[in-house]
């Protein structure tokens, strides 16, 4: 007790740093702040804005949760996830759009005319098949080299979207992507589409939670910490890494399919390397190996992205750059003071 009495009380700065490092408090504050921010925006901008925000959030949340399975839980820092997102989006566009009347088209592309619910599983499968091919190659690498080859994949994917004009219409993009339809019911309203996205998000979160809580998830965490020891205890780690890579890519394909249908237009600019970096930033910001963190990170990102539009004194041409600067500054601060992210358990 005497010791306590003689100990100098921490300064305001020290207390601030301590709070940043204590997971529970900061996570709570971050949740309250981000959700409060969302509520304020909704009250300010109305229900229509909230529905759009919610839909975009669901798509990015699916994407960030899926990437967290690979980056956070398994320790494979991939910056190529946007490629699978793009495969999903283009899959949806190619399979469902009707471009026959498109006057601006440069080349005709295959017409499939599939309904949304038939196309979506194909998008997911296409992303999965691509992930198997890419994953078999990626499994030969680790650490820094893994990051570099995943960079390469993101660049290749973007160039395929841009250059394979006979399939993607290149820079012109693909318009008139279908909205979900069951019989005579078409989810062309924003609320219906939001409801559908929420359902898919819940499914993805449920599957992810089940995976990471199971013995399979324990092996992934073991691989993350010490792959060689995991092998010593009988785990063929390449199979585990490939399995989670493919599952994660399929989820990203799902998110891409939803995005294509939501925006009804798909072009290569949505799948540039920068978007991939933003996605990795969301995962790190929310917290590695934390599904909750990924949801929080996605919400914060979407709020930042959508919210910037309402800063009236900011010229519109700078909004994109400012958004990136803000996200960059947040990341630098996090790496300095809280490298495990808002709700994560692992440091990058």
């Amino acid at each position: 007790m005497n010791g306590n009495a003689t100990t100098a009380s921490p300064s305001l700065f020290e207390r601030g740093m301590l709070m940043l490092r204590e997971k529970g408090d900061l996570e709570l504050y971050a949740n309250v702040f981000v959700i409060g921010w969302a509520v304020i925006f909704t009250l300010w901008q109305g229900v229509g804005f909230a529905v759009t925000l919610g839909t975009v959030f669901c798509i990015w949340a699916i994407l960030s949760v899926s990437l967290n399975l690979v980056v956070g839980y398994t320790g494979l820092l991939s910056v190529g996830h946007i490629g699978f997102f793009g495969i999903g989006a283009y899959g949806m566009a190619i399979l469902t759009s009707d471009t026959s009347y498109e006057l601006l088209r440069t080349e005709s592309i295959p017409q499939f005319g599939l309904p949304f619910f038939a196309a979506l599983p194909i998008c997911v499968l296409a992303a999965g098949v691509a992930a198997v091919v890419v994953g078999v190659v990626f499994n030969r690498f680790r650490d820094d080299i893994y990051v570099l080859v995943s960079f390469g994949f993101a660049i290749i994917a973007f160039n395929v979207f841009l250059s394979w004009r006979a399939l993607t219409r290149g820079a012109y993009g693909i318009p008139d992507v279908q909205r979900p339809q069951i019989g005579s019911w078409v989810a062309d309203g924003e609320i219906e589409f939001l409801a559908l996205c929420v359902v898919f998000l819940l499914i993805v979160v449920g599957i992810s939670w089940f995976l990471v809580s199971s013995s399979f998830g324990r092996v992934l965490k073991a691989i993350r910490e010490d792959e060689q020891v995991a092998q010593v205890f009988g785990y063929q780690t390449t199979y585990y890494k490939l399995a989670i890579w493919v599952i994660s890519a399929m989820m990203a394909g799902l998110a891409g399919g939803l995005l294509g249908s939501f925006t009804t237009f798909v072009d290569p600019n949505s799948f540039i390397l920068l978007e991939s970096m933003l996605l990795v930033s969301i995962v790190i910001l929310g917290g590695l190996a934390s599904i909750r963190g990924s949801l929080l990170g996605a919400l914060a990102f979407v709020l930042l992205e959508e919210g910037m539009r309402f800063i009236t004194y900011l010229p519109s041409e700078f909004i994109g750059q400012v958004r990136q600067v803000v996200l960059g500054v947040m990341l630098v601060l996090l790496m300095l003071f809280r490298p495990q992210g808002l709700a994560g358990r692992y440091k990058l």
């Binding site: 013995s215 324990r218 092996v219 965490k221 073991a222 993350r224 910490e225 010490d226 060689q228 020891v229 995991a230 092998q231 010593v232 205890f233 009988g234 785990y235 063929q236 780690t237 190996a289 358990r345 692992y346």
Partner: protein
């Protein structure tokens, strides 16, 4: 590469016939690029024995265990388990009955103690058997039972070593390989670790091959000892034979050169 009975009998000075050795390394050579880690090292471990491997830093002690586990670049020689060549991938070796406790403990610090232990036996499909092994390991290490829900990162070095050994035992091994189990531990904990190793050997009758730098303590509990120097076998025999000669002093003081070794 295949050892004849005569070869084995010639190099093995143990009481048990060498051809019946549970684990048998014949002329193992390991090269790390231009650096020779092991040069035609042969050693045998019989059922129920506790065999120590000793030697100065860089002698190749840990490389012996890594060669068995397929973690070192073996360029010559063969490892036999129960008389059959052990030519399977690293992840298959534990299923053959060999469990490895690596140097530096290397427990999964972001998993709980129970999760660490369970990872040691997930390859055993039978859930009841997994539970039985978990209970018997927790009985052997009561400190792990008390803290089973805690993260391994919250444990002391000594407790982590107990966890690492317990995780190795969860695999239900016929042969337990221990790499420097007392490295970096306080003297009082070192005593505790040796007591546990002795208990595992005598009570559980698990065959143990241990690499150890704590010479006097390991000689107290070992059945036989091998001494390595510069990647070659310098001596093998009973603990008494090691104590009676000056081999340890010579090896550790560098008096035994490559020629003598």
């Amino acid at each position: 590469m295949v050892a004849t009975d005569q070869d084995i009998a010639n190099r093995d000075g143990s009481d048990a016939p060498a051809s019946e050795a549970l684990l048998d390394l014949v002329d193992i050579s390991v090269h790390y690029g231009a650096v020779i880690g092991l040069d035609k090292v042969s050693l045998a471990v019989n059922q129920g024995e506790l065999v120590a491997v000793m030697g100065p830093n860089g002698a190749g002690k840990s490389t012996v265990l890594k060669a068995i586990m397929g973690l070192a670049p073996v360029v010559g020689g063969t490892v036999y388990l129960r008389g059959e060549p052990l030519d399977v991938a690293t992840h298959e070796i534990v299923k053959q009955g060999i469990s490895f406790v690596p140097q530096g403990r290397r427990v999964f610090t972001h998993l709980t103690i129970e999760e660490n232990l369970r990872l040691g036996c997930l390859h055993v499909g039978d859930r009841d058997e997994q539970e039985r092994r978990l209970e018997s390991t927790l009985d052997l290490f009561p400190i792990l039972r008390d803290k089973r829900r805690d993260y391994a990162s919250a444990m002391s070095g000594g407790q982590q070593q107990m966890l690492a050994i317990g995780r190795g035992l969860m695999a239900g091994p016929d042969v337990l390989l221990l790499d420097e189990p007392t490295l970096g531990l306080a003297p009082i904990i070192v005593t505790e670790v040796f007591e546990k190793i002795s208990e595992i050997s005598q009570v559980l009758r698990t065959t143990i091959l241990v690499v150890e730098h704590n010479i006097q303590s390991i000689l107290d509990i070992a059945s036989r000892a091998y001494i390595l120097n510069n990647g070659r076998l310098a001596h093998d025999g009973s603990p008494e034979s090691v104590r009676e000669t000056d081999i340890l002093t010579d090896v550790f003081l560098g008096k035994v050169g490559d020629e003598e070794a």
